[in-house]
């Protein structure tokens, strides 16, 4: 199991040596039982770090922020940022490397193994605790979680409250890291696309009904996009911010700027938004499941992306986020690819 002291001492060491600009990790603030992202600048802050089954966030999201921040600085600090990365998070780093969005030297990766479990699903836990206030969730020794509530502790088998994404995870240990903590035994997953298979078995009409019902719930808060480390477009289709306006731009030109979709949360626009996102993530989504976790109305967004991942796997034998030297799926053509129109 990851020894938290090892994590802290590695963080302390790299911060002390000035090797990194800062470290992106997890802390637990008072008043909450869940981990939050934390940005550590000083060696003495390393004690704030935690590693527990509530470290849901894909912190690679903040590496994207860092690149933007650096681009605006006149004399940027070019040291890498340290990042605590789970297996899925490390796969996101691989995709960013493949796409040349970041360089390997931009990040110092402190990998943490999820070993035989993963992070929990808050909603599944809420059903188990039935209204009791949770104080702490810890990894157990044998594929279980120890949940401390106001009424004492509960020992819950991992499979019962683990996030769906972790149940289907194919990278329980980080794929790339500079310092790796925890057990390095790879876990085999028998059916990595189990959840998609259920949906695939529905008729076309039922699928359409399922998704239109789900999309009706969307309030277009864009938490799914905002939580995603792959959604790094300079200008997202949903908000026009880069339309170049000069003194000569006419009112008509302004009025006729391309508007891909309306702000209205109606079926057509909601579906369009989510399909654009799903297509843009095909062959890029590493199934960290953050879109689905962040969604305040619980739309099973992971299913859209998982389906794309399955297509990439079945059509092109492509596993996302394992090899930084491999060309990205959507930017390469190989002789064995099924479609030959491109030849």
């Amino acid at each position: 199991m990851v020894n938290i002291e090892d994590l802290k001492s590695e963080a302390r060491r790299v911060l002390k040596g000035g090797k990194v600009k800062y470290i992106i990790g997890y802390e637990r603030a008072s008043e909450t039982w869940k981990a939050n992202p934390v940005f550590l600048k000083n060696p003495e802050d390393a004690d704030k770090l935690v590693w527990d089954p509530t470290c849901f966030h894909n912190l690679v999201r903040f590496v994207v922020d860092e690149k933007r921040r650096k681009a605006k600085e006149k004399q940027p600090d070019t040291r890498p940022v340290g990042i605590v990365a789970k297996g899925c998070d490390s796969r996101a780093i691989i995709v960013l490397l493949q796409e040349k969005f970041i360089e390997r030297m931009d990040v110092y990766i402190i990998g943490v193994s999820c070993e035989s479990t993963g992070v929990i699903d808050e909603r599944k836990l809420a059903k188990k605790t039935a209204g009791k206030t949770v104080q702490k969730v810890e990894f157990g020794e044998k594929q279980n979680y120890i949940v401390t509530t106001e009424d004492g502790t509960m020992d819950i088998p991992a499979a019962e409250i683990m996030a769906d994404r972790c149940l289907e995870c194919i990278a329980n240990i980080p794929v790339v890291s500079d310092h790796l903590l925890g057990d390095k035994t790879k876990r085999a997953v028998a059916r990595p696309f189990q959840s998609v298979e259920k949906l695939e078995s529905l008729s076309q009409e039922d699928k359409w009904k399922f998704w239109t019902d789900q999309m009706k719930k969307c309030i277009r808060c864009y938490a799914c996009r905002s939580a995603c480390p792959m959604c790094y477009c300079d200008e997202c289709v949903v908000d026009t911010i880069n339309f170049a306006v000069t003194a000569d731009t006419t009112a008509e030109e302004k009025a006729q700027r391309i508007k891909w979709l309306e702000k209205s949360p109606i079926d057509s626009e909601n579906i369009f938004y989510h399909l654009v996102r799903a297509i843009h993530l095909a062959g890029r989504c590493i199934d960290c499941g953050e879109c689905e976790r962040a969604c305040p109305v619980n739309i099973p967004l992971r299913m859209l992306n998982k389906k794309m991942e399955k297509e990439a796997k079945e059509l092109f034998g492509y596993d996302v986020g394992f090899d930084a030297d491999q060309p990205a799926l959507i930017s390469c053509f190989r002789d064995g690819d099924p479609e030959d129109f491109i030849r």
Binding site: E31, H57, R61, A223, R225, S226, D239, I241, K263, I266
Partner: protein, 357 residues
């Protein structure tokens, strides 16, 4: 806040047996009835499908009741190019069919009194008021805090606040203690008059006891914030906002799900180009999005996430206080519970309070 007088000129306190609740709903045929409903593990105010399908409980919906008086999308008018090269405009005011919302949290009732201020004043917003006047808000006093992040008592509210509500129900176990607070609330009781009994003195005592106990169950507090508005004024350019916003991912959850946030955008949605025809539409907007307050010049006064977090906090704890003498926060805790990265408005405001001292 002055509570409008009720029809009979005296407070109408009644008792309703829970088993008679569906009967009461049946009498409300003239109304479109909303109540909290759970779908996919998430509570939301939804139209009620049948009188037996309402279970009032201490739950916090994801989207607040504001969506009923201030929907995420509404029409202003329709435009249509005419044969003589002119444009015909047709105002599209909402219908004023009566609506009743059950299970409204007292913090949401109070929140509506704040949006009332914004949509009145210098300009009265007919779209908002048409819906608002047609809506009867039936509050449910909180027996236990519906969220672990409830802090209404720290921002001049309470789990049994009557502000903004037309009727307040308190759950006494087998019965509801019903207090009509406005004419609209009284009318609702009169619709099911025979089902309501006069309360015994011990019923009132019991309701009051439950209400007092409820206050004690609120875990979270935001104390000593009297100087925060002034403090914020001096912190506009502080590096504090950079540090606090580091983990913000710039989604719209905190604002869209806030019962008091009311910023909106207006767009023309074109349906056909020949003839040019479409609608002007109002939708929610949020200070957290990159195109919020984007000028047509391309300049944005709030270009960074730090300035957007600052806008949210300043609006709630400085600007609104300056303009309307109220915090623009009623302590529902949604922005805390639902933030994907755990940004906690209580902590942020406490840090502002203690900043530099």
């Amino acid at each position: 806040m002055e509570i409008p007088k009720i029809l009979s000129g005296e407070m109408m306190d009644k008792i309703l047996a829970k088993k008679d609740f569906p009967e009461w709903l049946k009498k409300l045929e003239a109304y479109r009835v909303y109540a909290p409903r759970k779908q996919d593990d998430v509570w939301n105010y939804e139209p009620v499908s049948g009188p037996g399908n309402v279970q009032l409980a201490d739950v916090m919906t994801a989207v607040p009741a504001k969506k009923i008086v201030f929907p995420q999308r509404e029409y202003f008018f329709e435009f249509r190019e005419t044969d003589d090269n002119g444009t015909k405009l047709t105002e599209l005011l909402p219908e004023d069919n009566p609506v009743v919302v059950f299970g409204v949290r007292p913090c949401e009732g109070k929140a509506v009194t704040l949006t009332d201020k914004v949509f009145s004043g210098e300009f009265e917003d007919p779209y908002y008021w048409k819906r608002r006047n047609a809506t009867t808000l039936v509050g449910l006093a909180c027996g236990t805090p519906p969220s672990p992040n409830c802090f209404c008592t720290s921002v001049n509210g309470s789990p049994h606040s009557k502000e903004g509500l037309d009727l307040l129900l308190t759950d006494l176990g087998e019965t509801f203690y019903a207090e009509a607070l406005t004419k609209k609330g009284e009318k609702l009781i009169l619709e099911g008059q025979k089902l309501f009994k006069d309360p015994k003195p011990e019923d009132k005592k019991k309701a009051e006891k439950i209400q007092v106990e409820a206050e004690k169950k609120i875990r979270r507090k935001l104390n000593r914030i009297e100087n925060v508005p002034l403090k914020l004024k001096g912190m506009f350019d502080s590096p504090f906002w950079d540090d606090e916003s580091m983990s913000c991912i710039r989604c719209g959850i905190c604002t869209y799900l806030c019962p008091t946030c009311h910023c909106f955008d207006m767009n023309d949605e074109v349906e056909t180009t020949t003839p040019l025809q479409g609608k002007r539409v109002r939708t929610w907007d949020t200070c957290q999005f990159p195109d919020f307050t984007m000028h047509s010049s391309g300049h944005n006064p709030r270009p960074e996430k730090s300035s957007r977090l600052r806008q949210r906090i300043n609006h709630k704890f400085q600007y609104f206080v300056e303009i309307w003498q109220n915090y623009q926060c009623t302590g529902c805790g949604r922005c805390i519970s639902l933030c994907p990265v755990g940004i906690d408005i209580i902590k942020v405001v406490e840090k502002v309070r203690d900043y530099g001292s």
